[in-house]
């Protein structure tokens, strides 16, 4: 679109607009309401519903305003008898074979077809014939389908193709018997459910929420998803203290993700009200004994006394404080304050999957937002697997390539699914990502790195050329594969390759919803990391206060070491491997029960909002920490409000300076924290380390030739997602049931094991 301004006349009013603007958008911008179904911004044009018809002077027929680009002097009418008749005609057609079963439809009350009929429907139905029939059924454990309600706008098939690159659903049949269907009658896709979201009617249904609630009973709370570092904005629908669903429907929420969510964001919420949530504080009075329910006062008292004992006996540095990349900035800030100001220990960390400290310390270009990704000209993805681990990033990449013509370079030892979109795929030897970074940032090493990488020099040169030819933005993304030295080396890239018409942005791919937040707070820069703390538990470290739980990568199979601690305090949602060793367990409130903020991989601080009251006796993490501090004699002065915690955090953490909750109010205008772009400093030591690392790499082992299955990460039942019964079906390979007419859940027993093992084995 150019910025040349032109004039169009709509219903007698003259407007200026950009040349090439889409007529329907211009009409709406100026409050000339034009209805639509199939038009969906940033998806391929469809022009099939024919509800957006308008009259344009000098054109013989009514025109679909969704397909018309404005030209100078265009004269448009959006309201006339002729247009009204046409619109009413289309709505009448759409209802002809529609079952009109709104009273039993999950979409009733938030259905675009209902709204359209309110505006453009007739008073009487003239269609007195028999309606076409197709049975209601399931397309997957997550997705229900009532084909009769379909108006064939094909938003679903387009998002499946254009957003997800999966093409799992497509129209089948012809004419009035066209139905949206799957290949082979069952969906073996990533189960993102975006087809449900964009469906304007009740044709595609959230199978996990079917018949559970009516939309108007739900209170909608805009919040941030808790499952990955992309930070999608969601609307949590709750009723009577229970979160019933999570959607990104644009009538409720308008965030960086539009209406996009992935399987976890959309279907992962049942853990919130799960039976197994911890109900009360628990105390293990003696090692080896049982965790016994206690009151909050008792638990605080117990923990405070023991903590004081350890600190007195072994010194403050024998206490380790562990925050979490899954909880709010406010919660982590309280822990940091606890460590620094109350205990006075340098040993604080967070249970992130990998550290980005070297990267952030040497940050040389701003972080890319998801909008930047969509508009990028070139994207380099080193390691990582965004389509499984940061699905919104994956979607933005695909759209950048498909709709924006971006060039995608993938450097990976695995032929990941995103390769479909790549212009260049460097299929490197396993664990040699560092060698690629070295070759890219140190030309003298390029030639010798090819063998290590297992690629041809021409391939590598082609990648360099692509970067050098970029006019516009080049975004560098990387996953957890890079060593610290490689992270530092990579930050040298902009200085080497940026040019007048070429700018670089970084997009790290951490795993968790608040990974960037824990880095920003400095929690990843304590003396001992979470993993180190576990390693020295009982030797030097005698007490630990952990929010959340350790991951296998922190425990390194040494969870027994936790038993060596004199005191382990854990705050958690559920009993976990870590709570097994805890002396005190505080029941924490989940993200749906607290106010706070998460910082995503764009560096956007986004609000987390309380949707329901904390379940049982649980409390917000920062309140627990403040409560424990208080018992220890320090008033954190948080005034019982998350916004006060954030205010203090923002005052002390430079990148957050000046931020307050009111500025973060509007999810459609997210605020990026001010990560400091550091002066380029001497990195020769890191380069040397990197060279040594790479020189020791042996190009042995075989290349990985198989593309990982869809969902190999997304469907893994984790502590949270395992509470979704359907996940267990997906994890078991998503077998197609014998009948699709009843809920696929019939295939599993109450304890989530599969009922029909034979059938699954045969799949």
């Amino acid at each position: 679109m150019s910025t040349e301004l032109i004039k169009v006349t709509i219903n007698g009013n003259e407007y200026q607009t950009e040349k090439g603007a889409r007529l329907i958008d211009v009409c709406r911008e100026h409050d000339h309401n034009v209805p639509s179904f199939c038009y969906y911004s940033d998806l391929a044009l469809q022009a099939s519903c024919r509800t957006c018809l308008v009259r344009i002077e000098k054109m013989p027929k009514l025109q679909t305003s969704c397909t018309v680009t404005c030209t100078d002097g265009m004269i448009v009418t959006t309201e006339s008898d002729e247009i009204e008749k046409a619109r009413r005609g289309m709505v009448e057609f759409l209802l002809a074979n529609h079952p009109l079963d709104c009273p039993v439809c999950d979409r009733g009350g938030e259905c675009e077809l209902q709204e359209m009929v309110f505006d453009w429907g007739g008073l009487e139905e003239r269609f007195s014939e028999r309606k076409n029939y197709a049975p209601e059924k399931f397309l997957s454990p997550m997705i229900g389908n009532d084909p009769q309600r379909c108006i064939l706008c094909k938003r679903c098939t387009r998002v499946c193709d254009e957003w997800m690159g999966e093409d799992a659903i497509e129209a089948g049949g012809r004419g009035a018997h066209t139905v949206i269907g799957t290949y082979g009658g069952w969906l073996n896709c990533s189960q993102c459910g975006n087809c449900i979201e964009v469906c304007p009617t009740g044709t595609l249904l959230d199978a996990t929420y079917r018949h559970q609630a009516r939309p108007w009973e739900l209170e909608q709370t805009v919040s941030t998803c808790t499952f990955c570092s992309d930070g999608c904005q969601v609307s949590l629908g709750s009723r009577a203290g229970e979160v019933m669903r999570s959607v990104a429907r644009d009538r409720y929420v308008d965030g960086i993700n539009g209406e996009f969510l992935c399987i976890k964001g959309r279907f992962g919420h049942p853990f919130i009200n799960d039976e197994q949530r911890l109900r009360t504080p628990l105390i293990r009075y003696r090692k080896g004994g049982k965790l016994i329910p206690a009151t909050w006062d008792q638990a605080f008292e117990f923990a405070a006394n023991r903590l004081k004992e350890v600190a007195d006996k072994h010194g403050a540095e024998s206490v380790g404080i562990v925050g979490s990349p899954r909880i709010t900035n406010e919660a982590n800030y309280a822990l940091l304050k606890f460590a620094k100001e109350l205990v006075g220990t340098p040993n604080y960390g967070a249970t992130d999957a990998f550290s980005l400290v070297p990267f952030f310390e040497n940050l040389s270009a701003p972080l890319a937002t998801h909008k930047d990704i969509r508009r990028a000209q070139t994207i380099i993805l080193i390691g990582g697997e965004p389509e499984e681990l940061q699905p919104l990033t994956g979607k933005q990449i695909r759209q950048a390539v498909r709709n924006g013509g971006a060039k995608l370079i993938i450097v990976n030892s695995t032929p990941i699914r995103l390769n479909q979109a790549a212009s260049q795929f460097l299929h490197i030897n396993p664990n040699t990502e560092d060698a690629f970074v070295l070759a890219l940032t140190d030309e003298s090493q390029a030639a010798s790195s090819m063998k290590t990488l297992g690629i041809e020099a021409e391939q590598f040169d082609a990648v360099r050329k692509l970067i050098n030819d970029t006019e516009g933005t080049c975004i560098v993304m990387f996953g957890g594969e890079l060593s610290h030295a490689a992270q530092v080396a990579l930050t040298g890239l902009p200085a080497m390759m940026a040019g007048e018409s070429r700018k670089f942005l970084f997009h790290p791919l951490p795993i968790y919803n608040n990974s960037v937040g824990v880095h920003d707070l400095g929690l990843m820069s304590g003396e001992l990391s979470a993993r180190d703390m576990v390693a020295v538990a009982g030797e030097g470290l005698h007490a630990m206060y952990v929010a959340g739980s350790f991951l296998p990568e922190h425990l390194q199979g040494q969870e027994e070491r936790l038993a060596q601690l004199e005191l382990l305090i854990v705050q958690e949602l559920f009993e976990t491997e870590t709570t097994k060793y805890a002396d005190v367990v505080f029941p924490a409130a989940s993200f749906a029960e607290v106010d706070g903020t998460f910082t995503n991989n764009d560096g956007l601080v986004q609000r987390v909002r309380q949707s329901i009251a904390p379940v049982h006796q649980s409390r917000a993490d920062w309140m627990i920490t403040a409560g424990l501090a208080k018992t220890l004699g320090m008033d954190f002065d948080f005034q019982m409000s998350a916004s006060a915690v954030f205010r203090e955090l923002a005052e002390r953490i430079p990148a957050y300076n000046g931020l307050r909750y009111p500025q973060l109010k509007d999810e459609s205008k997210p605020v990026q924290v001010k990560h400091q772009i550091s002066e380029r400093r001497d990195t020769s030591n890191d380069m040397q380390t990197l060279r040594e690392r790479v020189s020791q790499m042996k190009p042995d082992g075989e290349k990985i030739m198989t593309t990982p299955n869809v969902g190999h990460e997304l469907f893994k039942p984790g502590t949270l997602t395992s509470k979704v019964p359907q996940i267990h079906l997906l994890a078991a390979g998503n077998p197609k049931p014998e009948t699709v007419l009843i809920s696929p859940l019939y295939q599993i027993t109450i304890d989530s094991s599969l009922r029909r093992d034979e059938a699954i084995a045969a799949d």
Binding site: A47, C49, K61, A86, E92, F93, L94, L152, R174, A176
Partner: protein
């Protein structure tokens, strides 16, 4: 089954009657491929396009678009591949002319393709035929093999740098795949839905490359134009539509068949009543659908004594269209309600389902027709049918919707009695009959 030229020399059909007319050695003796050689070795592509422009050749697929102009839209300096796609879907009810070109003179089509590819700068030509024409495709495939063996298809033809490959493909039997953009989708292996226009295929067609889609008969006319010149071709017909056209005549005439007539043939009445032998069994002419099912139906009163000229303008004046030239003649035994119901069922069956008005409208129309046929007609049904048609017409994504509406609109208008008698509920009809 007659195949005859009337009012002109046989041009398109001149080799049809030869024994073994599908064989290259046979048609070579009658000049096959000489015009391809002439065009490629002695004319520039622009000169070929010029001749075709001069000829006033208009597309024989139904829309009647000037062929030379269409070729002129192909961007000459585009770095992309260019394609010629031959539309042999021939699914319009009543139309059966292209098949005779396949069956009787495949080399005429192939020669036309060669010249056309040369003109538009294409190296590849796809000949797309309806799935039901499998047996004809075998003929065509054999012809292509023969032509290739003889050096008329392939690399560096006629000692020049011009190379041309030809491939045949079939649809799976969908009428919509005759629509040029749906055809391209089908050719690419996608669902047979029409595409949005613009961009038109000439700019962005097959695989996003400039593509000319032409009907079989259109392309078959090209060698004659090269042989005799554009002006001569135009002189065969009228100023605005040059040349001769094949009409496929079926229904209640003594001699159904394929007739080659000059454009502007004078006149429709004479053609039906004399050239085609008139209406058999002493019955009277009731109605004619002159150009394939998608055009307005004409009552006999609009034909008899009316001197209807058989060309694009003449038939429009007379209240219909040339369309594909698939003429369906009906005598007075035909109930126009029934024949219209039959056509509507066709359109419902063939609606691709992409757009709302055609998909739901044709479904609804058929349901109303069926209800009426079952004796549950209501007097307001005529208005309902017209209103449904009005909500389809001009609002559908592609012309198939219009094509479904027009026959009904014209049938109700021109044959109200045939509808009225069904719109009285059965019981009342019985009562009337008993009277």
């Amino acid at each position: 089954m007659r195949i005859e030229a009337i009012g002109c020399e046989p041009n398109l059909i001149k080799r049809f009657a030869l024994e073994n007319s599908t064989r290259l050695d046979v048609v070579r003796k009658h000049g096959a491929y000489d015009m391809a050689r002439k065009a490629v070795t002695t004319m520039s592509p622009a000169a070929v396009i010029d001749e075709v422009k001069k000829s006033a050749l208009r597309g024989r697929g139904g829309a009647g678009f000037p062929t030379g102009m269409k070729w002129g839209f192909v961007p000459k300096d585009s770095p992309k591949e260019k394609y010629l796609v031959i539309n042999g879907d021939e699914s319009e009810p009543g139309t059966f002319k292209d098949r005779y070109i396949y069956e009787r003179d495949p080399h005429l089509l192939l020669e036309g393709c060669l010249i056309s590819c040369y003109a538009i700068g294409a190296r590849t030509c796809y000949i797309y035929s309806r799935g039901e024409y499998k047996y004809l495709i075998d003929i065509l495939d054999r012809a292509i093999e023969e032509a290739r063996a003889a050096g008329f298809i392939g690399e560096k033809l006629f000692g020049t740098d011009f190379s041309c490959e030809m491939h045949t493909t079939t649809g799976a039997g969908a009428y919509i795949c005759g629509e040029e953009t749906a055809l391209l989708n089908s050719l690419e292996g996608l669902r047979g839905h029409p595409r949005m226009k613009p961009p038109f295929p000439a700019v962005s067609g097959l695989y996003g490359c400039p593509t000319v889609v032409n009907n079989v008969e259109t392309i078959a006319a090209v060698p004659w134009i090269i042989e005799h010149g554009g002006d001569a071709y135009r002189a065969l017909g009228t100023e605005k539509s040059g040349g001769t056209k094949m009409w496929s005549v079926s229904g209640h005439v003594k001699y159904p068949g394929v007739y080659e007539l000059p454009m502007g043939y004078d006149n429709l009445e004479k053609f039906i009543m004399e050239d085609c032998g008139g209406i058999p069994n002493g019955r009277k002419l009731k109605a004619v659908i002159p150009g394939g099912s998608s055009v307005y139906i004409m009552p006999a009163s609009d034909i008899i004594g009316k001197k209807v000229l058989m060309d694009y303008e003449g038939l429009v004046v007379a209240g219909s269209m040339v369309g594909s030239g698939g003429m369906i003649v009906m005598d007075d035994t035909v109930d126009i309600f029934e024949s219209t119901k039959n056509l509507t069922e066709f359109y419902k069956h063939e609606s691709c389902g992409w757009c709302t008005p055609c998909r739901e409208g044709t479904d609804w129309l058929v349901k109303v027709f069926k209800r009426i046929a079952n004796g549950d007609g209501r007097i307001e049904d005529a208005q309902l049918l017209l209103d449904i048609c009005d909500n389809i017409e001009g609002k559908s994504f592609c012309p198939l919707g219009d094509a479904a509406a027009w026959p009904i609109q014209s049938a109700i208008k021109k044959f109200p009695e045939d509808f009225k008698k069904h719109l009285v509920p059965m019981l009342q009809q019985d009562a009337i009959a008993a009277d």
